[in-house]
Symmetry: C2
Subunit: 506 residues, 2 copies
Amino acid sequence: MTDTPLSAAYSDLEQRFARAQHIDDALELLEWDHATMMPDGGAPARAQQMSTLRLIRHELMTDPALGELLQRAQSDIATLDDWQQANLAAMRRAWVHAAALPARLVEALSHCAAECEMIWRNAREANDFPALAPKLAELLQLTREAAAAKAEHLNTTPYNALLDAFDPGMTTDTIDRLFTELESFLPTFLPQVIERQRSQPKLVMPAGPFPVEAQRALASRLMTSLGFDFTHGRLDVSHHPFSSGVPGDVRVTTRYSEDEFLQGLMAVLHETGHALYTRGLPPDWQGQPVGEALGMTLHESQSLIIEMQACRSDAFIHYVTPQLAETFGKAGNGTGAWTTANIKRLFQQVKPGLIRVYADEVTYPLHVILRYRLERALIAGDLAIAELPGAWNEGMSRLLGISPPDDADGCMQDVHWPAGLFGYFPTYTLGALAASQFMAAAQAARPDMPDAIAKGDFTPLTDWLRTNVHRYGSKYGTNALLEKATGSPLSSDAYIQHLKRRYLPD
Amino acid sequence: MTDTPLSAAYSDLEQRFARAQHIDDALELLEWDHATMMPDGGAPARAQQMSTLRLIRHELMTDPALGELLQRAQSDIATLDDWQQANLAAMRRAWVHAAALPARLVEALSHCAAECEMIWRNAREANDFPALAPKLAELLQLTREAAAAKAEHLNTTPYNALLDAFDPGMTTDTIDRLFTELESFLPTFLPQVIERQRSQPKLVMPAGPFPVEAQRALASRLMTSLGFDFTHGRLDVSHHPFSSGVPGDVRVTTRYSEDEFLQGLMAVLHETGHALYTRGLPPDWQGQPVGEALGMTLHESQSLIIEMQACRSDAFIHYVTPQLAETFGKAGNGTGAWTTANIKRLFQQVKPGLIRVYADEVTYPLHVILRYRLERALIAGDLAIAELPGAWNEGMSRLLGISPPDDADGCMQDVHWPAGLFGYFPTYTLGALAASQFMAAAQAARPDMPDAIAKGDFTPLTDWLRTNVHRYGSKYGTNALLEKATGSPLSSDAYIQHLKRRYLPD
């Protein structure tokens, strides 16, 4: 080894991680293009390009020098300022997730997940769980091996090690407490909400067709109202909505149906929340791990605070209804569809269903709790893949009062497990809790917010988010950031209060 | 060193070059996005992504192991088949161009060219050659150093070494012979053509506006007629038209003006010629140097055979005129604009001018010959940058009978030299000669071609090109490929015959 002075170790790390980040950024753009622009025939070449870039990134992160540099920088930590120290911690975490696994396991996992996802597509289509089970069991076994290896490096449990990849530092202790609170509230709350909805005037479903170009123009106007800057981003169409890119160039996608406008619109608002977070990340730390978004819980909190908290609020409905009427009014089925009262019924409808991605705010956490309990048992070895359909159906029945008619719309509905994503599901609901908590704090700080939103002015909210959330990147963990921004760590209180106020007022 | 068996050296090289190629492919996509999709605010981050990928590629190509592997594979060449041998030669050439220069010089060149191009933009705008001269002189000096270093590795002259980067194996011997032939023909031919045009009915200039969407739809239809497959490519808009991508995913761009349709349309046809070449490259050799396009002369021959040879021919004019009339007829200024006779006058107009990029087939080579003679003198040290404007104006006057009113539309009109591209200009005219030569051979093989093109069927031409040109990639040099496909090496005969037939018939 050369005799690098200690202070040089940290600089060297910054250069190496910047390089890895630029490769990640390039990969994101290749993926964006794949989803939005690429002709079908480009797929094989694109796969090769991406595989090469991923391999180069993997080589960077598993360079034996990296572990040593991290150690040296750690022993020199007193010379680093608070941002640099946080950056070093984020580097270490990224390194553990990339380098903790033997090359053999990384390759086996990636290969098995790719195969399993392919099998899943057909098995789901054919409602044939037994066709999926063997490969999924193999993937689970590899994931358990990986979780154990990472747990050792992170000094935690295997499932916590999986969580850590999606929400740094998140643990089952926190999740168990929060989900138990939700589980003791929601199943009794839900029937009351449904009962109350039944007593209200019936929703008049707006009828189409809803011209795609009109939907696009409206979405784009609303994005601009939300502060999305089209000199630093785009809106395009893809099969699944997503947001990607870098702070200077954020790409949002959605999809439009001529028959229905709500899903495409809400997807835009949701992804715009993600995009504003990306855009607001700390400019001085671009290209470094601490300059990245903290994780999926925080990211989801930022999409949900826009979509669920702000854009399904009475204030937003007041603002958007005339625009909806003007855009789609002629196509809608006449009387009653385009009033604020009816749009409120549409935007705030609660309806227990089989499918997580179509769930409303009240039932969504129940879908997540089910998956969380099941995947913990799977990782712990307490549940076998063969037992999954039964356990799933039992859980759906207990939590939501619904019995799935088949596995396609039951335990096979999500891509996550077949894609090897275990430990991801909780972040959806943790994000929803964080969104409520941020919203409560933002409202307290800016009492003018609802009036502003009713006029299409989102700056009281977005200014608060930029100042209290976005600009910290990954400097603090989820709980520490929440405590700093809202005065308390992640809690279910604000969410429960929010649900009560919105769905069972007076 | 490990005791790698000789046969392994070549396999190792294939892996390394595939990796470099995938990085190049990713870079091309990032550039395409930059030119077509990226919001302005994305520029700084994109520059970083591209710079990192370029650096990684440079490191791959300058890995000391590469030179040794090339030697080992060379000593084992008898075990390689003809494609592998050609691939090894192409690898060696790529390696020389990447690795012949000391790192210091590579960096200085890249830095100086970036600065010089920036200065050029302003200096051209302000018609201020003295503002450009010092940086251009510095860039020339660095280029001369680089040329000398490459010349040593390639065992040729410095200017030939520069040419080799754009057209492998091309030399001044060939160019001098061909350009002398053109120079003795064109200056006497040109006034005859102009005289003849003057005796013909006057061109009725079609008047706009030409709606952009109508132009796009027509361009897209014509691309399909030419065999462009939109499941393997796209047509988009960028400031400067270009074609890029990989065989499975070729991206063509153009620009549209509401005032004028010909430039946008011809750019599409030109770029489609490039795109068909890319699409037709040998599928078994994708990702390897021998699977790439041979160089700029061949590439330009493929764009010009489509744009100039096929799509300004009487047969194509017969085919396209009714479509132009239908697309733009209502917007055009009435009688006479949309007849085949008038469109022929438009498509085949010859008009000496100041600017190379607007030049027609007859005058274009004279612009190129001027630049060739000047850049050879610059590289040889026989001409100083300070003397460039005078030498330019003298040459324009001698070759084209035009005196540039200023340097902005004189020696500062092209980006090439300020961007560090010396040795590139000749390929435009070499490509034009090759296009004529290929066309003559294709016509002889497929006498049905004009009749087919008149009906919008390009397959006699494109089949011939695929079989005789595209599928060879970089297997043969320019002259060898021409000899194989047409029976003789690169010559000016077919071009001169073509000009005579088209511009001075009977």
